[in-house]
């Protein structure tokens, strides 16, 4: 914006550089703390992977915990993508009675606070035998991602000109094959955005597993790391906690840096039309 171009440059760089340092410092510190030596941690002195080694051996093993998290995240992403693809397509392209009411109802779900439904969900999942189940957890997480996902996919589909499927229909597609062959490739950016947001939400969610998972071998990573720090009776092990944070954060930061423009795009469509 031109209004700010006239600001003198030096204070500007000092101010913004300071901001950047404040925002990056905790991340850099956590990375450093996870490998550097501290008294009372697995890495008593010098640099090394002692904290990670201790983390590997924690509880059911780091491999098991990571695989729990991966299973939950992948299931949630796949479920959310397929349901929002079909739902978004239906809302964007078909006229059916009660369509607007139904879409409003989907958006109204966004107003229902997450936490207030966890207690009944705990009971309901117990009734159908899905407590301590990664699949049950994925279902709950999917449910909470769907409103935003359907909203995003509807916008993506509406941005595609109707002529595109009409010509596909003339070439012999029905609406399902037209969706698969012609429309899905056209909404890939929308799918990536939804997938990215869903992955972040599922990978990082804490309160749902805290309530729904009590078996330590089933715990996803955030829950396990949070429990881990209370392990050694009073003596808290900060080193191994920061190693856990590093394992939790690295995939997210890498994905974010790689797919940043899709992340930003999600906000563009969400914020402009919202």
């Amino acid at each position: 914006m031109k209004t700010f171009r006239s600001l003198s440059r030096t204070p500007y760089y000092v101010l913004t550089g300071g901001l950047a340092i404040i925002f990056l410092f905790p991340l850099l510190w956590a990375g450093l703390a996870s490998v550097s030596g501290q008294a009372g941690t697995a890495q008593a002195e010098g640099f090394g992977l002692g904290n990670f080694e201790r983390l590997m051996a924690y509880g059911p093993g780091l491999g098991q915990l990571v695989s729990n998290s991966v299973i939950v995240s992948v299931t949630t992403v796949v479920l959310t993508l397929s349901l929002s693809l079909l739902g978004g397509y239906a809302f964007a392209r078909f006229e059916f009675p009660g369509k607007n009411v139904l879409f409003l109802a989907v958006l109204a779900i966004l107003m229902v606070p997450y936490a207030s439904l966890l207690v009944p969900l705990y009971v309901l999942l117990g009734n159908v035998g899905l407590t301590d189940s990664l699949f049950g957890l994925s279902l709950v997480l999917t449910m909470y991602q769907l409103p935003f996902a359907i909203f995003m996919m509807r916008i993506s589909f509406e941005a595609i000109p109707a002529e595109l499927e009409e010509s596909a229909m003339i070439d012999g597609c029905n609406s399902f094959t037209a969706l698969l062959r012609v429309l899905v490739p056209a909404v890939v950016p929308g799918l990536v955005t939804v997938g990215l947001f869903t992955f972040f939400a599922a990978w990082n969610d804490f309160i749902a597993p805290l309530i729904l998972i009590s078996d330590a071998t089933m715990a996803p990573l955030p829950l396990a790391v949070a429990n881990l720090r209370q392990q050694a009776m009073g003596a808290v092990d900060y080193g191994v906690t920061e190693a856990g944070v590093a394992v939790l954060a690295l995939p997210c930061i890498l994905l974010f840096l790689l797919l940043q423009r899709f992340y930003v795009k999600g906000f563009m469509s969400g914020a402009l039309k919202g």
Binding site: T16, P120, L124, D205, A249
Partner: protein, 268 residues
């Protein structure tokens, strides 16, 4: 439809004697609700949640708007800045809380030694030791984690304002402050309203950060409403009371959101 069943269940549970282990033991309305009123932690936690929400919302909105205005121009340096400020948003709130739990810790936390090295303080700061310190330490964590998110929403709004309007105002002799008040703020209102709604709702429902970072302490000074629900259900094993509190939170939140949406629509 997946939502209707839990909604119905929470309503039913809130009027039933329902314990974590014993299950449903029949209706007892309105005991769960009246019992809540006697909980000595109820009003302190409501007060604390409101106080926290106001502090977080004011600081975060001011900071996000300021940064959004600063990093508008597309230069390489600004692109780097935007990324730096957005990266924390990629972390989960629980991971961020665990990270800061180490950062604030008296054992391995780097902050006190650094400040001592600079000669700013004489003895280590206890970041989570007093109610006030715990509150502000958590606010800092939340601002660090979420400012990029709101900056992005506001930047999208800013990009929607055409440069010609500023040009016209400049020709009419408006100074920078007049342009900000007369053009930027009014035209940015939808984005600001959306950020406000998200920020207020999110803060009222705060849980992870306090559960992990302060554990509600010191002396139960940082207990939020959602934490109270968790305690009723899984520490006192009274699912009925937790459901009653959930119903109240749900109704309050829907009401608050309706008021906010109404206010937003009136101004548009």
């Amino acid at each position: 439809m997946l939502f209707v069943v839990p909604l119905f269940t929470v309503g039913q549970m809130s009027v039933s004697d329902w314990s974590l282990l014993g299950g449903n033991q029949g209706l007892n309305a309105p005991e769960n609700y009246t019992g809540l009123a006697k909980d000595p932690l109820l009003w302190p936690s409501v007060g604390f949640t409101l106080q926290y929400t106001v502090i977080v919302t004011v600081i975060m909105m001011a900071l996000a708007l300021g940064i959004a205005l600063i990093v508008q121009e597309s230069t390489r340096w600004n692109a780097f800045l935007r990324t730096a400020i957005l990266v924390p948003s990629a972390l989960g709130l629980a991971s961020a809380s665990l990270l800061f739990w180490g950062l604030y810790s008296p054992n391995i936390g780097p902050l006190s030694p650094m400040l001592e090295g600079l000669g700013l303080i004489d003895e280590p700061i206890s970041f989570l030791g007093t109610p006030q310190a715990a509150l502000w330490s958590t606010v800092f964590l939340i601002v660090w984690r979420f400012t990029g998110f709101y900056m992005l929403i506001l930047m999208v709004g800013l990009q929607g304002i055409s440069g010609e309007i500023y040009e016209a105002a400049r020709i009419d002799g408006a100074n920078r402050w007049q342009m900000f008040r007369g053009i930027t703020l009014p035209l940015l209102r939808p984005s600001i309203a959306m950020s406000l709604i998200l920020c207020i709702t999110g803060s009222l429902l705060a849980f992870d950060q306090f559960y992990i970072l302060t554990k509600g302490g010191p002396d139960n000074s940082t207990i939020t409403i959602v934490q109270l629900i968790y305690r009723e259900a899984f520490q006192k094993f009274d699912l009925g009371a937790a459901a009653a509190l959930s119903v109240i939170v749900l109704l309050a939140l829907v009401l608050i959101n309706l008021v906010q949406f109404r206010a937003l629509r009136d101004k548009e």
